[in-house]
């Protein structure tokens, strides 16, 4: 499994042809306490850069952009009752949705962990 990162502070962990998407620990820290997560419908087709998901916090409602194109394979149903998982386990149990990759080549444009950490450091 390889994890990639975007400049919009999403992560995507890829295993086989499926990527699991969430927001980074840095992003949840910036947003503050998450109060609601609006998830896409499973089966929906998304294109890289679309915002199929919205994360509401006490400060703002923020779009989550999908780092890759494909079909939404699964969404994290646990967030309906426990949106705080995005705060407490941003990069594990607080994942948002899984995408069946349409074009694995899109991953090439994303950052690895070291590059993302350096990017956050530069902000």
């Amino acid at each position: 499994m390889t994890t990639y990162y975007t400049e919009d502070h999403e992560w995507i962990a890829v295993e086989g042809d499926t990527g699991t998407v969430g927001i980074t620990n840095y992003a949840q820290g910036q947003l503050g306490d998450i109060t609601y997560v609006e998830l896409p419908a499973a089966g929906a087709t998304v294109a890289k850069g679309d915002a199929p998901c919205v994360v509401d916090s006490v400060k703002a409602a923020s779009d989550v952009y999908t780092p890759v194109s494909g079909e939404v394979a699964e969404v994290n149903e646990a967030l309906a009752d426990a949106p705080e998982l995005v705060n407490t386990e941003a990069e594990s149990g607080g994942w948002l949705f899984r995408v069946k990759l349409a074009d694995p080549a899109e991953l090439g444009a994303l950052m690895d962990k070291a590059a993302y950490d350096a990017f956050v450091e530069s902000l």
């Binding site: 306490d33 109060t35 609601y36 509401d56 006490v58 703002a60 949106p83 705080e84």
Partner: protein, 516 residues
């Protein structure tokens, strides 16, 4: 009040300002505790003497019969009046002190406006009365329309939208009608980051696709990025000027020229028009449509105090498409509202209606009173004083609060600060909560999003220098405490009827019914 708050969701007042003093009632001096009205009520008590219903239910209405009595709290009339009056004393209002909400102007509502609005000839007219029986009211609408057109340098005005966002929708529908009239199917609206949050929402609601345009480092629209994006698919741009960073979009004319050259139209969010009245005419900047918040710029009540009103001024290109009823002064000087029966000949391209009736008549009366009582010179001074006050706040605090755009020059009607420089763990929210202890309504926080931990202060022209100095002294003290990492500030407010509430829990698990 030990018997109430069984659910435990309200901290007891004794945890607040009591400082050890506990009274039998739970009240402190004249600061009154208050239970929920359902907790106060007693079964069987009623404020009015209602006859038992007589006879059978009318045929056909049986299915509407209630199965059980409604669960209404039983209180006498004086208990009910006292309940709401006591609650109102825990509230904060523009008549109690400054309301420095940025981008949401809250200023004094002159009492002369109220007096005029209550004149029977205005207060008691009915919207279904024939126009010839309400000539005075129609004259007020048309006179106000004349002023708005003159002050903005535009061609016409749609008076009926009920608030700012309703005005935005009206403006976009005019733009859509104008484009469709020339067979143009453009589908994109460009909205810069410095625009009001309602702008992209309005564009999406009107059926357009929204694309963002980035801001420059000095908080304004990136003209180069905007120009690069223009094309045959762009219907319009929506720009807030002055923008949410409290800055004048100085490239407005160049933006409008570029948009027009590409075949698009220009919508301006005029919510902040109060900063430029008498100084700049939006019509001269090439704007095609702009709403004016009468409740901001022209002092009609706002927030809980009254309804909004958002007339939209229109360029010559858009005027034919303005909705009905359309206020007009005929060549003979005769005021009228064009309705459907005359529209076919007199205003044939109207896109439809925004409102069943004529708009917020009560607000028209107040706004016209405000305009006439100030005069053209007075309105110019209103804007000058609003900008002066905001700059006074900005310059008085920039040594203790980071002002991200302060170096670039004066601000308009709003002073914008960030949380840069606060001690580790201290946030904008702490300063906002501290202001409650200081006796002020907090400013707008965490907006605009382009500034980290934004604090947006709009003092308005109605605050005196003495009043501003008190506010500045409080904010300075809080900023110094947050910079020094004063742990006590994290607990603020400690002097208010309630302590800091759990906003997260309130949003995640809202208790919306009683009993919970």
């Amino acid at each position: 009040m030990s018997a109430v708050n069984a659910a435990g969701w309200r901290p007891e007042m004794s945890q607040g300002s009591a400082q050890g003093a506990v009274t039998a009632s739970g009240d402190k001096g004249l600061m009154l505790e208050e239970a929920l009205i359902f907790e106060l009520g007693r079964p069987g008590t009623c404020g009015v003497d209602i006859d038992e219903p007589e006879g059978a239910v009318l045929p056909g209405l049986e299915k509407f019969l209630r199965a059980s009595a409604p669960d209404l709290p039983g209180l006498t009339e004086p208990e009910t009046v006292r309940h709401y009056t006591r609650l109102s004393r825990q509230n904060y209002a523009i008549d109690l002190g400054p309301f420095p909400l940025g981008s949401c102007t809250m200023k004094h509502n002159p009492r002369l406006n109220e007096k005029v609005a209550r004149l029977p000839g205005f207060a008691d007219v009915h919207p279904l009365q024939p126009q010839q029986t309400v000539r005075g009211a129609v004259e007020v609408i048309v006179q106000l329309a004349d002023w708005l057109v003159t002050l903005t340098g535009m061609h016409a005005v749609a008076m009926t939208p009920k608030a700012g966002a309703h005005g935005e929708l009206c403006g976009l529908l005019c733009i859509r009608a104008a484009l469709e009239a020339r067979g143009d199917k453009r589908e994109v609206i460009l909205v810069p980051e410095s625009a009001h949050g309602t702008n992209p929402a309005t564009a999406a609601f009107a059926g357009y696709r929204v694309e963002n345009i980035p801001a420059t480092a000095d908080g304004r629209v990136d003209l180069a990025a905007l120009t690069a994006r223009l094309g045959p698919d762009v219907a319009a741009v929506m720009i807030t000027n002055p923008n949410t960073c409290g800055l004048f979009e100085r490239d407005m004319k160049a933006i409008a020229d570029a948009v027009h050259a590409a075949g698009g139209l220009v919508y301006c969010d005029g919510a902040n028009f109060n900063a430029i009245v008498g100084k700049v005419r939006p019509g001269d900047l090439g704007i095609d449509a702009m709403h004016i918040n009468l409740h901001k710029t022209f002092s009609t009540p706002h927030g809980g105090g009254g309804p909004g009103s958002g007339p939209v001024v229109l360029s010559e290109a858009l005027a034919p498409f303005a909705p009905l009823p359309y206020a007009e002064r005929t060549a003979e000087g005769y005021c009228r509202l064009i309705e459907e029966e005359d529209a076919g000949t007199d205003h044939p391209h109207a896109f439809g209606r925004m409102s069943a009736f004529h708009g917020q008549m009560g607000m028209f009366t107040r706004a016209l009173t405000y305009i006439l009582s100030h005069g053209a010179d007075g309105l110019r001074q209103v804007s000058e004083d609003a900008v002066l006050n905001a700059n006074y706040v900005l310059r008085s605090l920039e040594d203790v609060l980071d002002a991200p755009f302060g170096k670039a020059g004066p601000c308009m009607h709003e002073a914008l600060f960030s949380d840069v420089g606060l001690a580790e763990g201290f946030t904008t929210l702490d300063i906002a909560k501290g202001l409650i202890d200081e006796g002020f309504h907090p400013m707008t926080v965490y907006f605009p999003l382009v500034v980290h931990g934004a604090m947006l202060v709009e003092p308005t022209e109605t605050e005196s220098k003495a009043g501003l100095d008190r506010f500045i002294a409080s904010l300075r003290s809080l900023a110094e405490r947050a910079r020094a990492g004063d742990a006590a500030l994290k607990a603020a407010p400690v002097l208010a009827p309630r302590r800091r509430l759990d906003e997260t829990l309130a949003a995640r698990k809202p208790v919306l019914v009683h009993p919970a």
